[in-house]
């Protein structure tokens, strides 16, 4: 089936990581790690517009 796009082909058997009882696909692990990273970044990164907020009424 021809695809528009799909610059990176993910149509092959996935890679899985096992650690004791934990078994997770690389793709899912990337998504979960990214979620945690984005959450932490959202907490830490400075939010613009401080001057506008300080002049508020």
């Amino acid at each position: 089936m021809g695809l528009i796009g799909a610059l990176i082909n993910l149509d092959h058997y996935g890679h899985y990581l096992t650690w004791h009882w934990l078994n997770i696909s690389v793709a899912n692990l990337v998504v979960i790690v990214l979620m945690i990273a984005v959450f932490i970044s959202a907490l830490l990164l400075p939010f613009p517009g401080r001057a506008k907020r300080r002049s508020g009424k």
Partner: protein, 205 residues
């Protein structure tokens, strides 16, 4: 206004709504200055993603449920639909984490939390029925596996995951309706109660 007009359902409801939600609260032009963190963008990002999910779903609906197997354009629209779902869940979970750590249910906002949590659960159902509607090996596999869990509760007698027609209609009619109505209620509650204030720290004014 005559007392007959005053007693009308329409008049009484309109007056209640105007008092509860004046236009300036529904579409505000200011917000408390403590709303100053990137964590606050994930609610609107979730809604924007939901909009993309519905929009791409509508395009898929134009040509029917098997179009995407037969057309490259259809397959691309399917890809847009899949990734908008991934972004939707991503944003919703980060939004949920942020709201939990803000204890955003404080100050009579429990219903805001509840509508948000139920929306999450309805969304999981909507995604699940979407996977069932793919008409490919994935649908065959997921349906034959999931049937055991759902059958074990007795619900399988009414909600037959092997019935493509039923699952497709739950996916494109009932669950999106539920998700949109719940999201709408959730957002109206935020407008009604306002964004939850920070915890009071000792020594603070």
């Amino acid at each position: 206004m005559s007392s007959a007009v005053e007693q009308q359902w329409t008049t009484r409801l309109r007056k209640k709504l105007v008092v509860a939600m004046p236009a300036s609260q529904l579409l505000p032009d200011t917000q408390p200055s403590y709303v100053a963190s990137w964590i606050y963008v994930f609610g609107v990002t979730t809604m924007a993603s939901l909009g993309m999910v519905i929009l791409t779903g509508c395009v898929l609906a134009l040509e029917g449920p098997v179009w995407w197997h037969q057309s490259s354009v259809g397959h691309y629209v399917n890809s847009l639909h899949l990734w908008s779902v991934e972004v939707f869940f991503f944003a919703m979970v980060v939004h949920l984490w942020g709201k939990y750590f803000m204890a955003a249910w404080r100050g009579k906002r429990a219903l805001t939390w509840i509508t948000g949590a139920v929306t999450f659960l309805v969304s999981v159902g909507a995604a699940f029925t979407g996977y069932l509607s793919q008409s490919n090996f994935d649908s065959q596999w997921i349906s034959t596996q999931a049937k055991d869990g759902i059958n074990s509760t007795g619900v399988g007698g009414f909600f037959n995951v092997l019935n493509l027609g039923q699952m497709l209609m739950w996916h494109i009619v009932l669950l999106p309706l539920g998700a949109v109505v719940l999201t709408g209620l959730h957002v109206l509650l935020v407008r009604y109660r306002g964004v939850v204030p920070p915890f009071e720290e000792k020594g603070a004014a």
